[in-house]
């Protein structure tokens, strides 16, 4: 029937690649989200004029293909600055900024969606700007921003396939290595796709669960 030379060890090798994809994604989404919140709040708070320099930098990260960013950043850090740093670190750094650039827009949109009248009501009760931000704006903005943020996280996970260019062996690179050896591209790509699905699906479902829970109120 179906004949393959794929061994259990090869599957473990793929799983390790999937693990690397997961680690790179988790680190990048974590730091990218924190940075994105800082940038997003800053952009909302100071207005478009004062935020223009930041917006410009973020636009660069959003518009240049990730592959180019990775190659250039790697060359810049290792060759120009002469810093000895792993491809893994470069990958996480670039992906974090890439995530932050998108996340900043999501955060800003979320904050703008909170009605001004609610914020006035909070302030009129004597709440400070910070209390208004943490107790009213953030919970409400999070509900608005969550679907886009889940989409961003899943997107970053798939985009992380590009970090092979800085010598990080993640899921897709592991698959390619096996394809070269076993010459069974379609079968291996199916397995690779399955791995991607297995790590994305829980994230997507978790987002769906949160949305449902929050829609009660």
């Amino acid at each position: 029937m179906f004949d393959t030379s794929l061994t259990a060890n090869d599957l473990i090798f793929l799983a390790q690649g999937a693990g690397m994809t997961l680690v790179v994604t988790a680190i990048s989404v974590f730091f990218g989200t924190i940075l994105g919140i800082v940038f997003g709040v800053f952009r909302y708070q100071v207005g478009p004029w004062w935020a223009a320099p930041l917006t410009f930098v973020l636009d660069i990260f959003r518009s240049i293909p990730l592959l180019i960013q990775l190659v250039l950043a790697n060359a810049f850090v290792t060759t120009v600055l002469g810093i000895r740093i792993s491809g893994f670190a470069v990958a996480c750094g670039v992906l974090s900024l890439y995530t932050a650039a998108y996340c900043a827009e999501i955060v800003r949109g979320g904050i703008e969606a909170v009605p001004q009248t609610l914020r006035r009501a909070a302030r009129s009760l004597g709440m400070t700007w910070g209390q208004d931000m943490t107790s009213i704006v953030m919970p409400l903005a999070t509900r608005v921003a969550l679907p886009s943020w889940i989409g961003l996280a899943l997107g970053v996970m798939k985009d992380s396939a590009l970090v092979y260019i800085v010598q990080v062996v993640e899921l897709l690179k592991s698959t390619q290595i096996l394809i070269t050896r076993l010459q069974e591209p379609l079968f291996l790509l199916m397995i690779c796709g399955l791995f991607y699905f297995l790590i994305s699906f829980p994230i997507a479902r978790f987002g769906g669960y949160l949305e449902k829970r929050w829609s009660n109120d």
Binding site: L118, R123, S124, L125, M127, Q131, I136, W214
Partner: protein, 240 residues
């Protein structure tokens, strides 16, 4: 005591308050009537410092609201305000809505805040809605919740900015009843309203605003019975 001295305020080229002088004593119920754009709502938002003023000054218990050194967050604890649009925090239950500022601003314990919130919500007739989310409440109920939320801060003054204007007609009564109850309890109140009957009943004094000027102020019998200002006469005959 709230003292308003020669307050002027413009939005761009439009001057909405043209030198208002007004004093509201402790325990007084003042209603403010007038057409839209007369500046009456703006005055309320100036009193608790949500809007800056261009000149003049407003003193609340001797503290100048718009002075740089004034801690507005602290001052606002004394002055409750309820807006035309009911502003329930949608992600919190009715009880949590009323607890939040008590815990954050007054630093009350959760138990204290909860007890006070339950007390105030009972007071406005929402004792059976404590664990409900605001989206399940009618407009009138949300507005009463907003009143309870402001009262839970134990304010000395309450400002009401057309609190019934956005309500369906059949819900106006329950909110006005809540205001009547507060007035009878001796709360110092400034109510901007379009409800003439209500103004006549509860007020110690009624002020008529027209185009940024306080055209007339008098006890209700006098203001409604024998209006002197020609604009007020026009306004009253149009609303009756």
């Amino acid at each position: 005591m709230i003292e308003i001295e020669n307050v002027r305020k413009s939005f761009g080229p439009l001057e909405v308050l043209k030198g208002i002088n007004l004093t509201v004593a402790k325990g007084e119920v003042l209603t403010v009537i007038g057409g839209s754009g007369s500046g009456k709502s703006t005055l309320l938002t100036c009193i608790n410092g949500l809007e800056p003023i261009d000149s003049g000054r407003i003193l609340v218990d001797g503290v100048e609201v718009h002075a740089k050194s004034t801690d507005l967050n602290k001052l606002r604890q004394k002055i409750g305000i309820v807006f035309q649009q009911w502003n329930a925090f949608p992600h919190l239950t009715v009880l949590e809505n009323v607890m939040l500022a008590q815990v954050k601003v007054l630093k009350r314990s959760k138990q204290q805040a909860e007890a006070e919130a339950a007390k105030q919500l009972n007071h406005v007739g929402l004792g059976d809605k404590l664990s409900v989310y605001p989206s399940r409440l009618s407009g009138g109920q949300q507005q009463r919740m907003a009143i309870a939320r402001a009262l839970a801060m134990s304010p000395d003054y309450m400002l009401f900015d057309e609190v019934t204007s956005a309500l369906d007609p059949q819900l106006v009564g329950e909110v006005l009843d809540t205001l009547r109850m507060l007035a009878s309890e001796g709360m110092t109140m400034i109510c901007v309203t379009h409800e003439m009957k209500f103004a006549r009943e509860v007020s110690d004094r009624v002020a008529f605003f027209h185009k940024g000027v306080m055209a007339e102020i008098a006890p209700p019998e006098e203001l409604f019975g024998a209006p002197k200002d020609p604009e007020l006469q026009k306004f009253l005959s149009a609303t009756h």
